[in-house]
């Protein structure tokens, strides 16, 4: 029903769209970031944040503050907002909102599994998990010894179960295949999310396919760069790329055979939307790539607010808030460790 969302969207989605747009206007602005970057101590940051929407979450924190507390409280705010929206949502929006959290779920599973592999305390690991990606039996993950057990014991109950079909092996878990598992899961998740959005149709499909395609391409580039110099074969590498996006399928062919960062660059520069990202980097450099990608992503996410009557705004809002929390974490870390000169290295201004 493309083009007719305006007639019916507001019946179920209008209230929540209003809510999410309201939340968006509470995002920190460039002026806020400028002020935050000038802070001398974490208390200054708290003081500045208390004038923003984070105020109620931070005001009752006793004074010697830690970076983790700030991040925790800011995340808590996001989680509260998310839960509120999820409570109000009806189908299919509630499913859409749930899809947003699956990425965190995958990360949490990987975190716990890697942690237990290195014999860390489960409680400690649980605290590090992103609260959006929690599910009931998450702590049981520690019991599993291999992928098959992992799936059979725990994940079969979670929404991640269908994504596992491709990576069930009886091999023992190790760092390498955990990482492969993460990427396989993520690939399956992105593809599923993409299909779901296509099914929703209308402006949601249009905007989300653009955002997800960007995400898929970014992952493809990251996988390529990270797997250079490892024992991952070309075939295996190709299997980890999601089967949609701007790079699919010819870009993937080329990425699969890349041997160093400059070759990746050569591949990517053929695609006009990614040209400006790579042209900013000097040859052989990959550190600033993350930031460049984040900046591009933020730009695209902000653009999705320009159109009305679609679910992309929810995805965009969650992503923007997460970026904001990453920014706050970076700023707080820099302030706490007296590295103020590096503050601007990783902060991505949203507005």
């Amino acid at each position: 029903m493309y083009g007719f969302e305006a007639m019916t969207f507001n019946i179920h989605g209008g209230y929540l769209e209003a809510i999410v747009r309201g939340h968006r206007s509470g995002l920190l602005t460039a002026a806020d970031y400028n002020n935050l970057c000038q802070c001398e101590t974490l208390d200054d940051i708290k003081m500045h944040l208390s004038a923003t929407e984070y105020g109620p979450y931070l005001q009752n924190e006793p004074s010697p503050l830690h970076t983790t507390t700030i991040v925790e409280k800011c995340t808590l705010k996001l989680v509260d907002e998310y839960k509120h929206m999820l409570c109000q949502a009806t189908e299919p929006m509630s499913t859409f909102l749930e899809y947003i959290t699956y990425g965190h779920m995958i990360d949490n599973v990987v975190l716990i599994v890697t942690g237990t592999l290195h014999e860390r305390d489960v409680q400690e690991l649980l605290e590090k998990c992103h609260p959006l990606g929690m599910f009931d039996s998450i702590a049981t993950l520690a019991v599993a010894q291999n992928m098959r057990e992992l799936y059979r014991l725990v994940l079969v109950d979670t929404p991640l179960a269908p994504y596992f079909s491709e990576c069930i092996t009886s091999e023992d878990l190790d760092d390498m295949n955990i990482e492969i598992m993460r990427n396989t899961l993520y690939k399956a998740y992105l593809e599923d999310f993409y299909r779901f959005c296509q099914k929703l149709g209308g402006a949601t499909a249009e905007i989300m396919s653009d955002l997800l395609a960007f995400e898929a391409d970014r992952r493809a580039v990251n996988i390529t760069i990270n797997s250079i110099g490892t024992e991952l074969t070309r075939e295996d590498r190709r299997k980890l790329y999601s089967s949609f996006g701007l790079l699919y399928p010819y870009g993937h062919e080329e990425l699969a055979i890349c041997e160093d960062i400059d070759q990746v660059r050569g591949v990517m520069e053929k695609y006009p939307p990614y040209q400006p990202i790579f042209s900013k980097l000097s040859y052989g450099e990959s550190q600033m790539l993350d930031k460049a990608f984040y900046e591009e992503e933020v730009k695209r996410l902000c653009l999705s607010f320009e159109q009305q009557f679609h679910y992309g705004v929810f995805f965009a809002y969650m992503r923007l808030r997460e970026q904001e929390i990453r920014n706050l974490m970076w700023i707080s870390e820099c302030v706490a460790q007296n590295q103020k000169s590096r503050v601007h290295d990783s902060v991505v201004f949203i507005f």
Binding site: H48, I138, A139, T140, A142, L153, V154
Partner: protein, 817 residues
């Protein structure tokens, strides 16, 4: 701007123009600055300007103190939360006699907080072990029951088995089935939250491939979970398994599910021993916890006594430091410079406060007070009392008056309730409203500063508006002669009587006037006659137009006073006069006709006169003529009104242009340079050089819009006042319906039950529809008539409110939050 108040011809009137304000500068030596600001806050008559707007909050001078205050406020919130958890009420009377220093409060709060936290952690530890023991006890009891039940059922089975003649008797139950050393059957017991029990069982099954035996029973009462401290519904479980690998798996899983495991023995003797031991520990712990709680509550009680006072001090200090942050610090760092608006009359009070502060802080140099000259628009400040306040709020809700412009609030005090009453005319309803509002006024002391609900709060805020509204509706109700739509012969007998026996109530035929006209209001005989509606409609309609024209004239006259006060002759000659001519030429004339018709009792058709005054002004009026020379006068008025339109439209923009050219005629060559200057100086220059930019088209279009609005508005606004008639009609008809179709109908059945139902329905309909909803709608219509029809004639409403720094306002705010 002229300093004499009231615009010349009138004696000074407090509310008519806002207080004259001036921008003052205070230079305060740094040692006395805190005390000075505190004293100024006590007076509450100065609105400080933020002189550090470009600095972020933590870069300001007193950021540290504000942080300290914030920290103290946090501690106070913590105490409050703890107190409300412990059910201790905060004593409401602040003992303000003791003047405490901020540092002392801070130290005291710190001590108390650490003490409280220590007590809390101790208590928590004790509570935790107490909860653990309670759980353990429950596990012992319930799991004991498992074993007993299993044993007894096994015995029953064995007995049955033995009874049957075909079977050989088997060995005693006490001999184990398997040899101990071959395979060890282990078991674990514990508690698992009820909502996780299913998942727990499922995972156990999956993880062990079904090689466990799980037994669960739910506990009847929720238990307190030791880790979270929440009351949770739990199940007692016992898992039986074989082998060490399985054990470690099960332990991991039960940890993951937050299931607390407790040791358990099969031996019955040991079990009872353990139960008694655990019970003993529980009693011990309970006593310790109670002692701890007592200690805690005495501590909290002690805090509760001072809480309000400390809160007050902290809030006050914080507001002082906020103000101090708005002051700019001198380069020598020896004094602070404050700027702010204050009413002129407050100068002496401020000077005294400054002197006092200098003496009290034993500073060697007194603060310097001086008045700055500025072209910025000062804030608007009306000195209202509790009576006029709510009326002023009605005006301010539309827009705050521009500095010193004529304030419609003065007239609103009377016209607002009066217009309301015209729509709400019924002295029965008026008395109900009066009683309600008298109740609110009598409870004024009790309700004031309390947090009321939304609706009650609003009603309470407008109690004096409602008081006047009800008084006026009693008055208009008497004029309409309506008391719940029943007429009364209050002011003597009706002037009409039947000529003979043949006439009935429902007719006017046959009624003759036997006495003088009814002395006050509508003659009761009109009520219920067939001609009642035509008569009342014509009366109320005409009355509405008269009132409307009068109020609009008042609006235009106020625009004259504004023009006079601000010395704007152009507005008098090219706005006020043509507007008066236009409005009165058409609708003033209509009002005149109405009065003339009432006075002479003529049968002339006023619609006809008004319509044909435009369509064919030269035609003969015929029977519609009310007075001599009417035609000539009409043509004259029509011509005047026609002239008034271009008179309003053209001269003003052209004269403005000419004035502008004369003033800047020889500076034209330098204009570009000035423009650059403007952008350089930014804000500070923009408003003092506002008249430099002159855009003729803009002004002309503005004047065009203004003229069109006025000309069309004159017609539509007059028509808009007809809502007075419409609402009044609706009100009287509704109350007639409720009276006749509910009360009289029920009365007609001669049945007590029906009568009671009828009365109940009548009361609720009257209260709900007439007293609440009609009040609301009449209020809204009166509001509209004031905001739109009256105020658009003269009111700019683009000023800003005077918000002084005042401790009493601060207290009010915090009370309401």
């Amino acid at each position: 701007m002229a300093d004499d108040r009231g615009g010349g011809w009138f004696p000074p009137m407090d509310l008519f123009r806002s207080e004259p304000m001036h921008l003052v500068q205070l230079i305060i030596p740094i040692e006395s600055v805190h005390l000075t600001v505190s004293y100024l806050g006590d007076i509450g008559l100065i609105q400080f300007k933020d002189l550090n707007a470009d600095k972020s909050p933590f870069q300001r001078t007193y950021a540290i103190q504000i942080k300290r205050c914030g920290e103290m406020a946090r501690k106070l919130r913590f105490f409050k939360e703890q107190m409300s958890k412990a059910g201790i009420t905060i004593s409401s009377k602040p003992n303000l006699l003791v003047d405490v220093h901020l540092d002392d409060v801070e130290a005291r709060l710190g001590e108390l907080e650490s003490e409280l936290i220590e007590i809390n952690t101790n208590n928590e530890k004790l509570q935790r072990s107490y909860n653990e023991f309670t759980e353990y006890k429950l596990v012992l009891q319930k799991a004991g029951e498992f074993f007993k039940a299993a044993l007894s059922s096994a015995e029953v089975k064995q007995r049955e088995y033995n009874k049957s003649p075909h079977n050989q008797p088997v060995e005693s139950l006490s001999i184990p089935l398997l040899k101990d050393d071959e395979l060890k059957l282990g078991f674990l017991t514990g508690l698992v939250p009820k909502e996780k029990a299913m998942a727990f069982e499922r995972i156990l099954f999956r993880a062990t491939r079904g090689n466990v035996f799980l037994k669960q029973t739910p506990l009847e009462e929720p238990v307190v979970d030791p880790t979270s401290g929440q009351k949770v519904q739990k199940n007692v479980f016992a898992v039986f398994f074989s082998g060490e690998t399985l054990k470690s798996k099960i332990v991991k899983i039960s940890d993951a599910f937050g299931a607390n495991r407790y040791p358990f023995t099969e031996d019955l003797g040991k079990q009872t021993h353990m139960i008694t031991e655990v019970s003993g520990r529980i009693i011990e712990l309970k006593m310790t916890i109670e002692a701890g709680l007592l200690h805690r509550s005495t501590l909290l009680q002690k805090i509760g006594e001072h809480h309000e006072h400390w809160n007050h001090v902290v809030r006050k200090e914080k507001s002082i430091y906020h103000i101090l942050n708005m002051l700019s610090i001198d380069v020598t760092k020896k004094c602070l410079v404050a700027e702010g608006w204050s009413p002129v009359y407050a100068t002496r009070q401020i000077r005294r406060a400054l002197r006092l502060a200098a003496i009290d802080s034993s500073s060697q140099v007194g603060p310097i007070f001086r008045v700055l000259h500025t072209k910025k628009l000062p804030p608007t400040f009306f000195r209202t009392n509790k009576f006029t306040e709510s009326f002023q709020t009605i005006v301010d809700a539309y827009g705050v008056a521009r500095y010193q412009e004529a304030n419609p609030g003065v007239y609103t005090v009377v016209t607002f309730p009066f217009l309301f009453a015209i729509m709400f005319g019924d002295w029965g309803h008026g008395i109900c409203l009066l009683l309600a509002t008298l109740y609110l006024i009598s409870k004024e002391k009790k309700f004031h500063g309390q947090k009321l609900g939304d609706i009650v709060g609003m009603t309470f805020g407008g109690r004096y508006v409602i008081l006047l509204m009800s008084l006026f509706s009693i008055y208009t109700g008497l004029i309409y002669n309506e008391f719940f739509s029943v007429p009364f012969e209050l002011f003597g007998p009706s002037a009409y009587a039947c000529r003979d026996d043949s006439c009935s109530d429902a007719t006017t035929m046959g009624l003759v006037k036997v006495r003088d006209t009814y002395p006050f209001g509508v003659d009761p005989t009109w009520h219920g006659t067939r001609t009642e509606l035509p008569f009342l409609n014509s009366l109320k309609m005409k009355m509405s137009i008269l009132l409307g024209v009068a109020q609009m004239n008042l609006g235009i006259i106020l625009s004259f006073f504004n023009a006079l006060y601000f010395g704007n002759r152009l507005n008098i000659w090219f706005q006020f006069i043509p507007q008066m001519v236009f409005l009165n030429g058409l609708f003033g004339y209509l009002s005149l006709l109405i009065i003339a018709k009432w006075y002479t009792g003529s049968q002339a058709d006023l619609y006809h006169i008004m319509i044909y005054m435009f369509l064919s002004p030269t035609d003969d009026l015929g029977e519609n003529q009310l007075f001599n020379n009417q035609k000539t006068i009409q043509i004259g008025l029509l011509l005047l009104s026609l002239i008034a339109v271009p008179w309003m439209l053209f001269p003003k923009p052209f004269i403005l242009k000419a004035q502008h050219n004369r003033r800047h005629g020889n500076e034209d060559a330098y204009m570009p340079l000035e423009d650059i200057d403007d952008t350089l100086h930014g804000e500070s220059n923009a408003d003092c050089e506002g008249d430099h930019k002159f855009d003729f088209t803009e002004i002309f279009v503005h004047q065009l819009i203004h003229t069109i609005e006025f000309v069309l508005g004159a017609v539509s606004n007059t028509a808009s006042y007809l809502r007075l008639w419409a609402l009044s009609l609706a009100h009287s008809e509704l109350s007639a319906v409720f009276y006749e179709k509910v009360l009289l109908l029920a009365w007609g059945y001669n049945n007590v039950a029906i009568l009671i139902i009828g009365i109940v329905v009548f009361i609720f309909a009257t209260a709900g529809v007439l007293l609440v909803m009609e009040t609301l709608s009449a209020f809204l219509h009166a509001l509209r008539l004031h905001w739109v029809e009256f105020q658009n004639k003269f009111y700019n409403g683009n000023g800003y409110q005077f918000r002084p720094f005042s401790f009493s306002l601060l207290e009010d705010e915090s009370k309401l939050n």
